[in-house]
């Protein structure tokens, strides 16, 4: 190890980067998962069941009756909403402090005098010690709180030391009445948490008024967790890919270390060292290095995880659920997993050369020609095996309803299969080039080309590693740009209106029929369509519902399969449309029905069709506003879509609408379709920011792989370079020859990465994304991504070739020939 420091360093860096990726992503994922659980649990706690209501919530009286009529004491009423304090987001929990403290759920350690004051003061709120410290607030301090576009002054009356500071640091507590006032939810509860046994459950079920439901809280939380699970699986898959690239790198460097010591190993064998002892010897020192590198990878992974957790939690918040917990949690299991994976990967990668070293006869332990001859002999078998893996992966992918993990397994098979085929393809291409270009090629070019073939065990692996890494760039790049284009096209249809008026208040206060008339009366307004967005309870858990009044030629709900008569039935309120993710995940299609909890109890709604929607992967239901009003007895409005007359100026109209709503500017938002589009695309780009980081790291690992392969080649060809120098080749010519060779390897990797990358993109689009989120996407082939791939591979290879080229050029021919 000491004699070949650069090589040891390359192995070290390769393993370290691989482990860094796995640990970093895993820690970010586990932190986000913990945050998800804590955020859910901090609201749900140890309850077994929940009473839930429709869009209007649960009347206060239900709670009182529950305690008096059914004598259910373990019941906790709750009002929940999002608020902002000093620019930080908090989840406001309106609770009844007496049962809360009795059950010891959140406010453990709350002092009695604080409690009594909380009950008396109608502006009183409570925070955990950590939250108060973060905000720099003291007891009795009055501060501003913003919610629903309005600002309130509240007083901190109690600070409690929580048993679980991480879980409560994003929570703000208030008495139910205070929370109802702040959140504009007078007389309404969002839910009632219960701790029940089986008999109570049946009793409550029978007792519940129409429009309310009883659900098991664990099931509900699970369905919430499952939503973001796909996102985490996607990230994990990407980090494992980096580990695969790192494995190729280790294989390369360990083989090289065996080659370098072929004489020593040969002498050992001649002296009677057994095959097993040789195997253990080679393996032991590689594993020693891998252990040190894995430990370094853990440290780096901690740093990467810390950086990634912000990206991951932000994405989860954007896409799924408001995470009020953002702490970076170090999961020892993640560290152990990363460490063992690094070591395991190193074990597998170096077992092959160690086994080969142990199998050789004493006279020819791993001579280069021996290794290369074996490789040449194995190439057809390797290529065939690769083809088998590739076909198996493709067959697996073709299955319509497989799981996400199965999808990733198929993708891994395809990548691995392709990887095995790369050396064969490299040999084929270089042979073809030699044949076709033969009259034009000089000896230098021939040497460069034939050396790629002659050292295929090394060059093939390097090209394979680079191909895989760059194909990730192609695959993810094509997928992201296809997705972006899809969302952009969809937004064009969805944002068919010109101006959008929406409220931050859940109750839609301020958006009234009178306001609609005023807007309608503005010059240049063709029509104003009100809509309502609410979360409703369904047989599949909470689902977002959009109730709208479609206009003629409305494009907001683009149907997946156009069916005659659907529009008429929808207008008549005789059914609903469901979004693509809901249809995919629950395997629903037109003609089926979906059970919802309406004001009058459970109702079955007929599904008229499936429409494209990219607002949420949780799924959506769209129905006519009239039908919604009838089912939920809800007149409230969440927003207006304003359609302008053809010749009306949008900017002027926007000003006019804003003027009307000046007095309520805090609460009501007015945006042009362009502004909404820009915001949506910004969220989209933010969501995929993490993929850029991971792509870059994968390329970095591949770069180290190519560098190690080239260093190995350079080392093995020292004599050849010495002969060339002695024959009259200048150092510059040697450098150009090596750079030409690495450039060609890079070009090959770049070109080979295109078919693999496109295949990967197809699988990501049609299988992974579909199984993860239920979305279908357009397929786009951006020329930029393909050109970028070739360029990236070329640059990575040429850069990796610079040092070996300089080293080779500086060889002292006399010394090299003498040493041989």
């Amino acid at each position: 190890m000491n004699r070949h420091r650069w090589q040891s360093w390359l192995t070290f860096i390769g393993v370290m980067l691989g482990v860094t990726m796995v640990v970093g992503v895993d820690l970010a994922n586990s932190s986000a998962r913990r945050a998800f659980s804590l955020s859910l649990d901090s609201i749900a706690g140890s309850v077994t069941h929940q009473i839930i209501g429709g869009p209007k919530g649960i009347p206060d009286s239900v709670y009182t009756r529950l305690r008096t009529e059914l004598a259910i004491r373990s019941s906790l009423p709750m009002v929940i909403g999002q608020v902002s304090i000093k620019g930080r987001n908090f989840t406001l929990l309106g609770v009844d402090p007496i049962p809360e403290t009795t059950l010891g759920r959140h406010m453990t350690g709350l002092e009695t005098h604080g409690l009594s004051r909380a009950l008396l003061d109608d502006n009183a709120v409570m925070l955990s010690r950590r939250a108060a410290d973060k905000l720099g607030l003291q007891i009795s301090e009055v501060f501003e709180l913003r919610t629903g576009g309005r600002t309130f002054l509240v007083r901190l009356v109690a600070i409690f030391p929580s048993d679980n500071p991480a879980a409560t640091e994003g929570l703000l507590f208030a008495d139910i009445a205070v929370a109802q006032r702040l959140l504009n939810r007078f007389g309404r509860l969002d839910r009632i948490d219960l701790i029940l046994d089986e008999s109570d459950r049946d009793e409550i079920q029978a007792w519940l008024p129409a429009g309310l439901g009883l659900v098991a809280s664990e099931l509900r939380n699970d369905s919430m967790r499952q939503m973001s699970e796909a996102f985490h699986i996607n990230l994990t898959a990407m980090s494992l890919l980096a580990l695969l690239v790192a494995a190729l790198l280790i294989y390369n460097t360990v083989t090289l270390s065996v080659l370098q010591r072929r004489n020593t190993l040969g002498i050992f064998r001649a002296l009677g060292v057994t095959r097993k002892e040789i195997f253990v010897l080679v393996l032991r020192e590689s594993l020693l290095l891998a252990t040190a590198a894995s430990l370094a990878g853990l440290v780096m992974g901690l740093l990467l995880g810390q950086a990634l957790v912000q990206l991951v939690t932000r994405t989860v918040t954007d896409l799924y659920f408001n995470l009020h917990v953002t702490a970076f949690l170090i999961d020892p299991l993640s560290l152990l997993k990363g460490f063992l994976m690094g070591l395991g990967m190193a074990f597998i990668a170096c077992s092959i050369p160690a086994w080969e070293a142990s199998r050789s006869r004493p006279v020819n332990v791993m001579q280069r020609s021996t290794v290369e001859r074996r490789w040449q002999l194995r190439l057809p078998m390797l290529t065939a095996l690769g083809a088998v893996c590739l076909v198996a992966g493709l067959l697996l992918v073709a299955r319509t309803h497989g799981s996400l993990v199965e999808g990733f397994f198929a993708l891994a098979l395809i990548v691995f299969g392709f990887c095995l085929m790369v050396p064969g393809m490299v040999v084929l291409v270089t042979r073809l080039l030699l044949r076709i270009l033969s009259p034009l090629l000089g000896s230098t070019a021939r040497i460069a080309l034939r050396d790629i073939n002659a050292g295929i065990s090394r060059t093939g692996m390097a090209v394979a590693a680079l191909t895989v890494a760059v194909s990730v760039t192609v695959g993810v790049g094509v997928m992201v740009s296809s997705f972006r284009e899809t969302v952009s096209v969809w937004l064009g249809q969805y944002l068919s209106g010109d101006i959008y008026v929406s409220t931050l208040d859940r109750n839609g206060s301020g958006l009234t029929p009178a306001l609609k008339s005023r807007l309608q009366a503005l010059a240049g307004v063709a029509s104003v369509a009100p809509s309502r967005i609410e979360n409703i309870e369904t047989e599949f858990g909470p689902v977002r519902l959009i109730a709208l009044t479609p206009t003629e030629n409305d494009t907001r709900l683009p149907l997946k399969h156009s069916v005659e008569g659907v529009a008429e039935l929808f207008y008549q309120g005789k059914g609903v449309l469901i979004s693509e993710p809901l249809a995919y995940h629950q395997q629903l299609s037109s003609g089926d029905s979906i059970t919802v909890l309406a004001a009058k109890g459970e109702q079955q709604l007929r599904i008229l069709g499936v429409y494209y929607d990219y607002t949420t992967s949780r799924g959506m239901i769209a129905m006519h506003r009239e039908a919604y009003r009838e089912l939920w007895d809800d007149e409230r409005i969440s927003g207006f879509t304003i359609y302008k007359e053809e010749n009306a100026d949008q900017a002027n109209l926007l000003d006019a609408v804003r003027k009307i709503l000046t007095s309520e500017a805090d609460q009501i938002r007015v945006s042009s379709n362009q502004e909404i589009r820009e915001t949506a695309m910004a969220v989209f780009d933010r969501t995929f920011a993490i993929t850029h980081v991971l792509r870059l790291l994968t390329i970095l690992v591949a770069f180290v792989g190519v560098l190690s392969a080239l260093m190995a080649l350079q080392l093995e060809r020292t004599r050849e370079f010495a002969i060339l120098r002695a024959t009259g080749m200048t150092p510059r010519q040697i450098s150009v020859m090596i750079l030409g060779q690495t450039g060609l390897m890079g070009l090959l990797a770049g070109l080979l990465s295109i078919p693999l990358g496109l295949l990967m993109a197809d699988i990501l689009i049609d299988v992974i994304n579909r199984r993860s989120f239920g979305w279908s996407m357009l397929h786009r082939l951006p020329a930029g991504v393909l050109a970028e791939a070739v360029f990236l591979a070329l640059i990575a290879a040429v850069l990796a070739g610079v040092y070996p080229a300089l080293k080779a050029a500086s060889i002292s021919p006399a010394q090299a020939l003498r040493e041989e």
Partner: protein
């Protein structure tokens, strides 16, 4: 009339072995005339190969001068030295030192390409040389597909194809059996004589050395010209 073609004056070369210096050439001086064949004899490690390396410019002397055809190689830059070598010197090694990824013909053509000859001239000269070393059937074979004798013939062809003024041969028969060695040596002499070239030959074998015009031994880093009994 004899013309001094290679002039070596007071050459010193020491190799570092750990912390110790191992002097190989200690003020070596020698003159070789144009068209002459000189055999260099000496024990293993006596510095014979080092002397050839310094003369060809692939190794640098610590002190002293090497003048070949009036050009002081020790005063040339690395780049100039390389250009001089590719144009005026041919080298034949004991272990052939062919490029494993080039065919016999390509190995021979390599030096012509490096010298910038046109493809037509390269083909013509290469073919002629292949014919001269009787390798027509082997010209498309790679080194590992040829016997030792065949490989050395390719090495000789490569060393002579650009008609160098000076040919340096480092134990050209050392890795071949006696019969093949004799054939190779005969071929080398014939081809060099035909081109009025100068040959410096390093060998262990007195029989081989005796085919030369002059025999010089390298002892304790100094050259001694002598006839008669040799200890090795």
């Amino acid at each position: 009339m004899t013309e001094e073609f290679v002039q070596i004056r007071n050459l010193h070369r020491t190799f570092q072995e750990g912390e110790l210096g191992h002097p190989v050439l200690q003020g070596t001086s020698l003159t070789v005339n144009r068209g002459e064949t000189v055999a260099l004899l000496g024990r293993s490690g006596s510095g014979k190969s080092t002397l050839l390396n310094v003369i060809s410019g692939i190794d640098k002397a610590d002190a002293g001068t090497v003048i070949v055809d009036g050009i002081d190689l020790t005063a040339l830059s690395e780049h100039e030295c390389t250009l001089f070598r590719r144009q005026h010197i041919g080298f034949v090694y004991q272990f052939f030192n062919l490029i494993p990824t080039l065919t016999a013909a390509e190995n021979i053509a390599l030096v012509l390409e490096l010298n910038g000859y046109s493809p037509v001239v390269i083909k013509e000269k290469t073919d002629r040389m292949i014919q001269a070393v009787d390798l027509e059937k082997e010209k498309d074979k790679f080194p590992d597909q040829m016997s030792g004798g065949e490989q050395q013939r390719v090495a000789i062809a490569r060393a002579l194809v650009h008609s160098p003024k000076l040919v340096l041969a480092d134990e050209p028969t050392g890795n071949l059996d006696a019969e093949i060695g004799q054939q190779i040596l005969k071929l080398l002499r014939e081809l060099i004589t035909g081109k009025q070239g100068t040959l410096m030959l390093v060998t262990h074998s007195l029989a081989v050395a005796r085919t030369a015009d002059r025999i010089i031994t390298l002892e304790d880093g100094l050259l001694v010209e002598r006839e008669g009994h040799f200890a090795w």
